[in-house]
């Protein structure tokens, strides 16, 4: 019997007592998380539960009468074609959007990391998109891409690349890309500042050691920066995924989900069904499904992350 086993194997205490001493020993830890837990519970606990509850009811827009329908909403959703199309459209929206923001953010952060002249200017300038109300940014992007008033078309026309304005947001094949670009633009500063903060906490001597080991810049990035940023990247991409998944303003303002619903995501659909058309129950059911997707994703993501032996 190893010493370790010997000492962890004290079975004398009753389970309850042990639980009690455990709580006592960790009381500070619990005390410190308690305000956050309680606050969140108080503020969003009810809305979330309400969403779950509503998803089991038929609650027509034009009446206060709710009818319990069980899982009917879910059944109908899973049975509908639109659901799968929405999933696909949400998926590509999230994947491309998050990847774009992450890459752009990293690119900016890496270049801003050093002690360069004009750092303050660049840093501040890169944050500008973040300071504009999202809906305004979306409007501006809609204009930029607009076939008639848009700067993009104006530039292309001026360069003689096109003869007639192209309507990116009116083209069912590429409209979603037109929206993703705006989303990336809006979301990049966040990524950049997070990564910058992460980069700044990497000890310089690790780069020195790596340089001595013969690591080129790319290697240093790959073997020092990325692993050291791992937890930051994890947090940023996980949250960004969630946010992008539930994001609404940009799409809604730019295309309203169109054309032909090709830019609609689950959330856009939820808004249309639940809030515009007043089918709250159906909207809630969609919301719960969206939540389940994200939840499972988060768990898998964290699992994969912690697989290498890293702590959560």
């Amino acid at each position: 019997m190893s010493i370790a086993e010997e000492y962890t194997d004290t079975t004398d205490d009753s389970r309850f007592e042990r639980g009690l001493t455990y709580l006592q020993r960790n009381s500070r830890a619990y005390l410190l998380i308690a305000p956050t837990a309680l606050f969140l519970l108080a503020v969003v606990g009810y809305p979330i539960l309400e969403t779950f509850r509503l998803s089991l009811y038929q609650s027509p827009a034009d009446s206060n009468i709710e009818t319990f329908v069980g899982l009917q909403h879910y059944a109908e959703i899973v049975d509908s074609d639109i659901f799968y199309r929405l999933l696909w459209q949400t998926g590509r929206w999230v994947v491309v959007g998050v990847a774009g923001k992450t890459i752009m953010g990293l690119l900016i952060a890496v270049h801003l990391k050093g002690d360069i002249r004009g750092r303050k200017f660049f840093r501040t300038a890169f944050l500008i998109p973040w300071g504009i109300p999202y809906a305004i940014s979306a409007v501006v992007f809609r204009w930029i891409e607009h076939p008639q008033f848009g700067y993009l078309n104006a530039i292309l026309l001026k360069l003689g690349l096109i003869e007639q304005g192209i309507g990116i947001l009116g083209n069912p094949d590429i409209a979603w890309l037109g929206v993703v670009v705006a989303d990336i633009w809006i979301g990049t500063p966040f990524m950049a500042i997070i990564f910058l903060a992460g980069l700044q906490s990497i000890p310089q001597e690790l780069y020195e050691a790596a340089a001595i080991d013969g690591a080129e810049r790319w290697h240093q990035f790959r073997y020092i920066t990325l692993p050291q940023l791992k937890s930051v990247i994890l947090i940023a991409t996980l949250l960004s995924t969630i946010w992008t998944f539930v994001s609404f303003d940009t799409i809604w303002t730019m295309t309203g989900g169109g054309p032909i619903s090709t830019t609609a995501t689950l959330v856009i659909h939820i808004y249309q069904v639940g809030l515009q058309n007043g089918n709250l129950g159906r909207g809630a059911a969609y919301s719960v499904i969206g939540f389940l997707f994200l939840f499972v994703f988060a768990i898998i993501y964290l699992r994969v992350y912690t697989r290498g032996g890293d702590e959560l």
Binding site: P203, E205, L206, A209, A211, I212, K230
Partner: protein, 365 residues
């Protein structure tokens, strides 16, 4: 070719700290040079400049025939042990050690082999899959050492690589480093504050003080013929004992006098103020009436020897003598210390060495 040459190299840190001042130094191909000097004298800075981690404020550094001032560290083909270890916290010991090899595109088996070999040598085979934070200080240091020695660089730079190891392991590692260095015939620059390491490992010892070069010579020469008072006091432990003496011309030589010493030598030397130095182990104790009269203050048994801390009767100066462990006087005992004039060192008012022996020889001719 991997001779390392520093020509008038200076380093001024941002905030106007002159860390290294016009240092010129040549380390020949395959040579093992040990850099010593008081804490803060610029040892690490020098190493870091050679590695390319610190820009050179003035002067030139060349590796082989190439001036490397503007060559990036990764292109200099060096291996370095950092004073602060600088292990990669997100990599296991194995990964830490193999990182450089992997980058240079070695085969996996070969990497494994070399890493395991080095780990065995450093007695960290059991720790290969641990992360740095799980290791003790000395274990971390050994990993840092291992990371350097698995590679096959042109130049080894080691910054106090054994400082956190115990005497036994240290002796062992010392031998291993020497063996590896000789085997690979790699030019090596080694910073240490350990006298034993300096004395036993170095082809040449480089002594720095306040960013300035004091002496570059083989170990024994540094010990026996220190360039100046600083080196004399720095090399050797316990330090050399110094007496401020005045030289006056006497018949057939010179008389050196202080409240504690009075010594007539058959040398011809300008009169004036000098400093006379005698190493603790060069004292011969017990010859009463000879040269210096002292009273025993403390006796420090060191196992193999005893250190005597004595006070001179003349001016109550502290003097240290190292004697055989069997000789063990008591506090308050009066002892007279003698020394051979051959073992005596003499420095002029500027602290520079005056070669007494030669003078003596000259005189005797």
């Amino acid at each position: 070719m991997s001779e390392v040459t520093l020509s008038n190299v200076s380093k001024v840190y941002d905030d106007d700290v002159l860390a290294v001042n016009e240092l010129s130094l040549t380390v020949s191909d395959g040579e093992f040079v040990v850099v010593v000097g008081p804490s803060g004298c610029g040892k690490s800075t020098t190493l870091r400049m050679i590695a390319g981690l610190e820009t050179v404020t003035a002067g030139e550094i060349a590796i082989g025939d190439e001036v490397v001032n503007d060559v990036r560290p990764q292109d200099r083909n060096i291996a370095m042990v950092f004073q602060s270890y600088a292990l990669y916290p997100h990599m296991t010991v194995r990964e830490n050690m193999s990182f450089g090899l992997r980058l240079s595109g070695e085969y996996d088996e070969q990497i494994d082999e070399r890493v395991e070999e080095a780990a065995e040598l450093l007695e960290i085979s059991d720790l290969l899959d641990d992360y740095p934070k799980q290791l003790s200080g000395g274990q971390q240091q050994r990993v840092a050492l291992g990371r350097a020695i698995v590679r096959d660089p042109e130049v080894f730079l080691m910054d106090e690589p054994l400082s956190n190891l115990d005497a036994k392991l240290r002796t062992q590692m010392r031998t291993e480093i020497q063996r590896i260095q000789e085997e690979l015939d790699v030019t090596t620059i080694y910073v240490t504050h350990d006298q034993t390491e300096a004395m036993t490992m170095a082809d040449h010892i480089v002594i720095l003080n306040g960013g300035e070069l004091q002496q570059v010579d083989p170990p024994e020469q540094c010990y026996d013929e220190p360039n100046n008072k600083f080196v004399a006091g720095f090399i050797g432990s316990p330090s050399m004992n110094f007496f401020d003496v005045t030289a006056t011309a006497i018949d057939g030589g010179t008389r050196f006098e202080s409240p504690d010493v009075a010594l007539d030598l058959g040398v011809d030397i300008p009169t004036g103020d000098y400093t006379l130095g005698v190493r603790p182990e060069d004292f011969v104790a017990g010859r009463a009436g000879e040269y210096i009269d002292t009273v025993v203050d403390v006796v420090e048994p060191m196992g193999s020897d005893n250190f005597l801390y004595l006070e001179t009767t003349g001016s109550s100066m502290e003097v240290v003598a190292r004697v055989d462990s069997e000789y063990r006087p008591h506090r308050g005992d009066e002892i007279s210390l003698g020394f051979d004039t051959d073992d005596m060192h003499l420095f002029n008012a500027d602290g520079e060495r005056v070669a007494v022996t030669e003078l003596q020889t000259t005189e005797s001719v």
